[in-house]
């Protein structure tokens, strides 16, 4: 289906707002599930937005900005998965794979901004020297507006200006290629989860991974909440045990000191 000029402008505006939040990581509006939901509303097809948001959110789950690294961009992934699913009529899983180039483009924009914004530090230092709080605030906000503006521009160009080219390109794909992208849509959430494991997995807590896996596999639970509650219970037991050990250690340690004196 076609995206109209007004829809293109609204999508760009959405990208601007969400890109501000992507800098802040405050309200999590930059996450695919939110971006795709609003994009779906703008396009008049909420179901496409919901489906696209759900697959993209999980695939980009572990791609965290932790430690100042810049991963492929979740905002653009959510946006373009929705847009591609809408304009080509393909499934959300297929659209997810096709949105990757756009997520990479936005990642590259992020890196360029993070590098060039170092140039803002000189004028900021100067404002500190003069205790010029107004100037300081303006420069910081300028950085924000520039970055979000670039996101809005990319979104407008890819979603509106290039929509026929993208749709025409995808519609040339044979059936097996489309199905291939669908398969990858089912596999990519594993990347998100694995990246979480790379940071979180330790010998001390690997057992809990299997407990969670078995609960979910065999209990046919509707969603993850029961597993999370079980997790809180287990973590609490662990915490209490640690407290007891710590307390005993202190008593023993104190005793040893007394002997010494």
């Amino acid at each position: 289906m076609q995206i109209t000029l007004i829809q293109g402008i609204l999508l760009a505006l959405l990208a601007f707002i969400c890109a501000c939040d992507a800098c802040w990581e405050a309200f999590f509006w930059f996450r695919p599930i939110v971006v795709a939901f609003f994009a779906g509303i703008i396009l008049g097809d909420v179901q496409v937005g919901l489906a696209a948001g759900a697959v993209a959110e999980l695939s980009y789950l572990g791609l965290l900005t932790v430690g100042g690294t810049v991963p492929p961009d979740p905002l653009m992934a959510g946006m373009m998965t929705t847009v591609i699913a809408f304009t080509t009529g393909q499934s959300a899983e297929t659209a997810l794979g096709l949105s990757l180039p756009f997520a990479l483009l936005a990642q590259w924009v992020g890196i360029v901004c993070n590098t060039t914004f170092a140039g803002f530090l000189r004028p900021l230092d100067h404002a500190c020297e003069n205790a010029d709080t107004k100037k300081f605030t303006q420069i910081v906000l300028l950085g924000l507006v520039i970055k979000a503006g670039i996101y809005a521009l990319i979104t407008f160009l890819s979603a509106f200006a290039l929509q026929n080219q993208i749709a025409g390109f995808v519609n040339m794909f044979p059936e097996w290629l489309i199905h291939g992208f669908e398969i990858s849509g089912g596999l990519l959430p594993a990347v998100g989860l694995t990246l979480l494991l790379v940071v979180m997995l330790k010998k001390q807590n690997v057992a809990y991974l299997f407990i969670g896996f078995l609960l979910m596999t065999f209990l046919k639970l509707g969603n993850i909440l029961p597993v999370a509650i079980a997790g809180i219970a287990v973590a609490f037991i662990g915490y209490l045990n640690d407290e007891t050990i710590k307390k005993n250690a202190v008593t023993v340690g104190g005793g040893a000191d007394d002997d010494g004196i």
Binding site: A54, F120, D125, I139, E182, K202, L209, L215, A235
Partner: protein, 263 residues
């Protein structure tokens, strides 16, 4: 000349906490969050020092060093710094407290927000959304709205704790991080069978007429998604394959598997 200092009230701290939303604006690789971090302190510093420009300038410069922490924890640190400034603590001490705490606090904040709340909220809301319910994204927005305004609490806590914060954090950070790790691992374990979809085509049959997928299912349901995640883990951890290469590889292999009608 003696420096006079005004007291901050609750409203000033709330204002600081709300401003801390902007903490990662103007992020750059050189000093990371420094500009946004310093920005959040400005109204507080202006109130404390009034028109003593020299003091404001020194305090601003003191907060323009490299800092990279989790945004909610930054609010906590900002509250702490304003309380130290208000009490006229030595700036070198303030700087060393800030530099010493932002690392451990980042670990704590990441464990709470990124490794625990994010997978849980994403999993619950995605299962609603993929079922076609608008409740999915709406609940997600609501959860993270509370997450965002929880910084009011973090800011107040930092301000009220003052210097006492240092001991408390160093004695409790590891316990909380560990508990969050356990919870996070259970949730990730539960997400693997729910969201990783890996199964062979039904038309793919072993000699003897049994479908290949049925063989795997009889060993254990979802054993393929679990094995796939551990294969990826091994590739990341031991082979140091980068994320982008891996994503491209998965897409290419999927297409090949589809072409030969294996999946």
């Amino acid at each position: 000349m003696t420096v006079s200092r005004n007291k901050l009230d609750k409203k000033d701290i709330n204002k600081m906490s709300m401003l801390s939303i902007l903490e990662q604006s103007c992020f750059s690789f050189e000093r990371m969050q420094a500009p946004g971090f310093c920005l959040g302190l400005l109204p507080g510093l202006k109130k404390i020092y009034g028109d003593q420009k020299e003091e404001i300038s020194d305090a601003m410069k003191n907060n323009m060093d490299f800092i990279n922490t989790e945004p909610h924890m930054a609010t906590f640190l900002q509250g702490l710094i304003l309380s130290l400034e208000e009490n006229g603590q030595d700036r070198a001490l303030i700087k060393s407290i800030k530099t010493g705490l932002f690392g451990p606090l980042a670990g704590l904040g990441d464990a709470i927000f990124w490794f625990t709340l994010l997978p849980i909220s994403a999993a619950i809301c995605c299962s609603l959304a993929s079922g076609g319910s608008v409740l999915g994204p709406i609940l997600y927005i609501a959860i993270w709205f509370l997450g965002a305004i929880s910084r009011l609490w973090f800011g107040r806590m930092g301000y009220n704790m003052g210097v006492g914060a240092v001991d408390l954090i160093s004695s409790n950070a590891s316990a909380i991080t560990k508990a969050a790790g356990i919870l996070g691992m259970m949730v990730v374990g539960g997400l693997i069978p729910s969201y990783v979809s890996l199964h062979f085509a039904e038309t793919l049959v072993a000699p003897g007429g049994v479908s290949i997928q049925a063989i795997f299912d009889s060993i254990m349901p979802n054993i393929l998604p679990l094995g796939f995640v551990f294969t990826l883990y091994w590739l990341f951890k031991k082979k140091h394959v980068n994320t982008l290469m891996l994503i491209i590889l998965i897409i290419l292999v999927s297409i090949v598997l589809s072409f030969f009608r294996i999946m």
